[in-house]
């Protein structure tokens, strides 16, 4: 095990996460992809903590924090997903677009009198 391999693993994990986030249409799939990216960062943290001489606890502590925060985040996110499913009966990201700008109302361009 070298640092490079760990970083490669983390990169691969991150890339998979990015790919998943960009392509999954299901909301839960998106959450999983984000989790992958987070874990890629965790691996980096742990790897640097392990291979860097000196203070070994900092990175691990940080990774632990991240895991805890990610867990909370997931709990909140999953409850939102459940609530949304109850309301919309649908978790397809392409259809969940209520945050978008309505295009049809063109702004009244300020014309001189």
């Amino acid at each position: 095990m070298t640092l490079e391999r760990c970083l490669l693993l983390a990169f691969a994990l991150f890339a998979i996460g990015v790919y998943g986030a960009l392509t999954r249409r299901h909301l839960v799939g998106l959450l999983i992809s984000i989790e992958l990216m987070l874990n890629a960062a965790n691996i980096n943290l742990a790897a640097f903590a392990h291979f860097r001489p000196g203070d070994a606890t900092g990175g691990a502590t940080f990774a632990l924090f991240t895991i805890a925060v990610a867990a909370c985040e997931m709990a909140a996110a999953l409850s939102i997903v459940v609530a949304m499913y109850r309301r919309r009966r649908n978790l397809d990201l392409d259809k969940l677009r209520s945050l978008r700008e309505p295009i049809e109302a063109e702004p009244g361009a300020g014309k001189a009198p």
Partner: protein, 646 residues
């Protein structure tokens, strides 16, 4: 007495303030009485003051101005400041007396003339303001002070000409008077600005004295080399040009007849129009020093005199005839000042005193003529000669006085106008301006002709309608008394004041004088020409059987007659330039650019901002995957650009 000379101004100002703020709306009659009282007080103070001044300067240099008082009104920068002061010299003292007399008589007359006008209180307030402004103008010791009162004169004339503000023609006339004189005044102000810069002072004593040398230099003006003194003189004179209604800025004066007749009377005799002549006289040493400048004044003067006299021969409105006669007489005064420059290059001061003399005599007979015309108009309720005729029976005292005034203005000896006009022509002849003097003689002939045309058509022949039916005399003492009083100086002022003007009314600070030879045949010729004009008018309009209706009719007249009747279409030319070219064309174009270019650019900036916002907000498409992609792409971009410390 002299030290408290400001009282002469204070009385009319008080009348203006009290009447304008309080009395006018309460009681018009009381306002009139108060105005009369105050103008009487002003005159009563002016007479002993004049005597005291005369006693003080008698034997010495009478033309040297006596300074009654002075205070700093507006400190500008260092030594440059605006003082208000009162100077007494022959012309200012003469004007004080003339204005005081005329203002008093016109106030009395207005009591009768404006009897039935509900807003006569306002009239008396404005009349007092007018007198105050003119008094302030003549005592001014510096050009800035003169300008201050000059403008006040202009604005009070505006308010008085448009006194009947519900009458559209009066409103239009007041607007015309205001804008034309204002246009000329802007040059005057420019002259002051120039003088303040070049001479560093605005006092007449400096401008007419030490500043002449300082300003006698060439300056480059857009490639042309101009004499600075000439330029400053011209700018100042342009103010007087407009105020005294010299051609071609004369167009406002005939229209100013729309005001009540007492206003015309005071405008034409003592205030307003003589201001321009007075300005020229005040600046005489400076103007005389400017090379060739007096020649300009002379040409403008004689041309206006002749031009106005020609037009006066065709007019039908009695007040318009008098207005053109004023123009013509003002032309004489200007001409006289201009003729002071002799062909040999000297200064003939007799011409200067002749001009002041003519201001003096003209004030009385012209005031009388207008007051008399007002009485006629009051009687027949119309301005046109068409409605008059045979009025001598109805208004006998007015008739006699008007006859005397017509004789005076026509230059028939021994009435006042003869003496002053004779002096003018004589001075011009002595200065060597033969042609101008001949033109002046000819104008004198025309003057006699058109004045007696008016006289015969108004007073003699058969009555031609008008409302003044009925028998017996119809004269209102308020109106008749001033007319009769004015008849006295109309007859005598020439003969009595002749020597005073000859010996005392000389310009101060003018060094060179040219020898004067007396020409005996000139007075005789002038008188003969006057009588000839009178006779011609009699033959055409006065003799038994003369057809007044045909004489006044335009039918069958040639093109020349119409051209003259319509005042050579100069008004129309002005209207075209002002309304079509300046207001319609230029101002319209500027407004168009302002709206459609400048403001449109502002609008375009606003709408451009909105549009770009509209474009950008399309990015907010609600697709989470797109957001994440954009986010990552952004990070990558920053990394590539090297802005992110990774």
């Amino acid at each position: 007495m002299i030290a408290h000379g400001y009282l002469i101004l204070l009385f009319p100002l008080l009348a203006f303030a009290v009447n304008g703020l309080w009395l006018a709306r309460r009681n018009g009659f009381a306002a009139g009485l108060f105005s009369i009282l105050m103008s009487a007080a002003s005159l009563a103070y002016a007479i002993p003051l004049a005597l005291e001044w005369f006693a003080a300067v008698h034997g010495g240099d009478a033309s040297a101005p006596v300074e009654a008082w002075r205070f700093t009104w507006l400190p500008l920068e260092g030594a440059l400041k605006v003082d208000f002061s009162m100077i007494l010299d022959p012309i200012s003292v003469m004007m004080l007396l003339v204005i005081g007399t005329v203002a008093l008589l016109v106030n009395v007359y207005s009591m009768g003339y404006m009897r039935h006008d509900p807003s006569r209180g306002r009239f008396f307030a404005l009349l007092s303001l007018f007198a105050f402004s003119m008094l302030g103008l003549v005592i001014a010791g510096n050009v800035f002070q003169m300008y201050v009162f000059w403008e006040l004169v202009g604005v009070s004339s505006y308010l008085l000409i448009g006194f009947w503000y519900e009458k559209p023609s009066a409103v239009a006339a007041s607007k015309k008077a205001m804008i034309v004189t204002r246009f000329a005044d802007s040059f005057f102000l420019l002259g002051i600005v120039l003088a303040a810069y070049a001479a560093g002072s605005m006092d007449f004593s400096v401008l007419n004295g030490s500043a002449i040398a300082a300003m006698s230099r060439e300056v480059s003006l857009g490639g042309f080399h101009v004499n600075l003194l000439f330029l400053a003189s011209l700018l100042m004179f342009l103010g007087g040009w407009g105020k005294s209604a010299m051609f071609p800025l004369h167009i406002w004066l005939p229209d100013a007849m729309e005001g009540p007749t007492p206003v015309s009377s005071i405008i034409h005799s003592a205030t307003m129009v003589v201001a321009g002549v007075y300005l020229t006289a005040r600046f005489f040493p400076m103007f005389a020093a400017a090379p060739g400048f007096l020649d300009l004044v002379r040409v403008v003067g004689i041309f206006t005199a002749l031009f106005a006299a020609v037009i006066a021969c065709t007019q039908k409105d009695i007040k318009r005839i008098l207005a053109f006669s004023t123009l013509s007489q003002l032309g004489y005064m200007m001409f006289s000042l201009g003729a002071a420059a002799t062909v040999l290059g000297g200064v003939n001061t007799a011409a200067y005193s002749a001009s002041a003399f003519h201001i003096f005599t003209h004030a009385f007979f012209k005031c009388l003529l207008f007051l008399g015309a007002g009485a006629l108009i009051h009687h027949v309720h119309a301005n046109e000669l068409d409605a008059m005729g045979g009025l001598w029976k109805k208004l006998p005292l007015t008739w006699i006085s008007m006859l005397l005034a017509c004789l005076a203005i026509a230059g028939i000896p021994p009435f006042s106008g003869f003496w002053s006009k004779d002096e003018i022509i004589l001075a011009a002849w002595q200065s060597g301006h033969g042609l101008s003097a001949a033109l002046a003689l000819f104008t004198g002939f025309l003057t006699a002709f058109y004045m007696f045309r008016l006289y015969f058509l108004a007073f003699h022949g058969e009555p031609r309608g008008g409302h003044g039916e009925g028998h017996g005399r119809h004269e209102d003492p308020w109106m008749t008394v001033p007319i009769v009083i004015l008849a006295v100086p109309t007859v005598l002022s020439g003969l009595l004041a002749k020597d005073f003007f000859h010996h005392f009314a000389l310009p101060h600070q003018v060094l060179s004088e040219s020898p004067v030879e007396h020409v005996a045949w000139l007075p005789a010729t002038a008188a003969t020409l006057g009588i000839l004009g009178l006779f011609l008018a009699f033959v055409l309009y006065g003799r038994r059987g003369a057809d007044a209706k045909a004489a006044l009719s335009v039918e069958g007249r040639g093109g020349w007659y119409r051209l003259i009747l319509n005042k050579f279409y100069i008004d129309e030319l002005y209207l075209f330039v002002a309304r079509r070219l300046l207001i319609g064309g230029f101002a319209g174009a500027v407004k168009w650019v302002d709206t459609n270019v400048v403001d449109a650019a502002v609008g375009a900036t606003a709408s451009g901002t909105l549009r770009s916002g509209a474009l950008l907000r399309r990015l907010q498409n609600g697709n989470l995957a797109f957001y994440i992609g954009a986010f990552l792409f952004g990070i990558l971009l920053l990394r590539i650009l090297g802005r992110l410390p990774l």
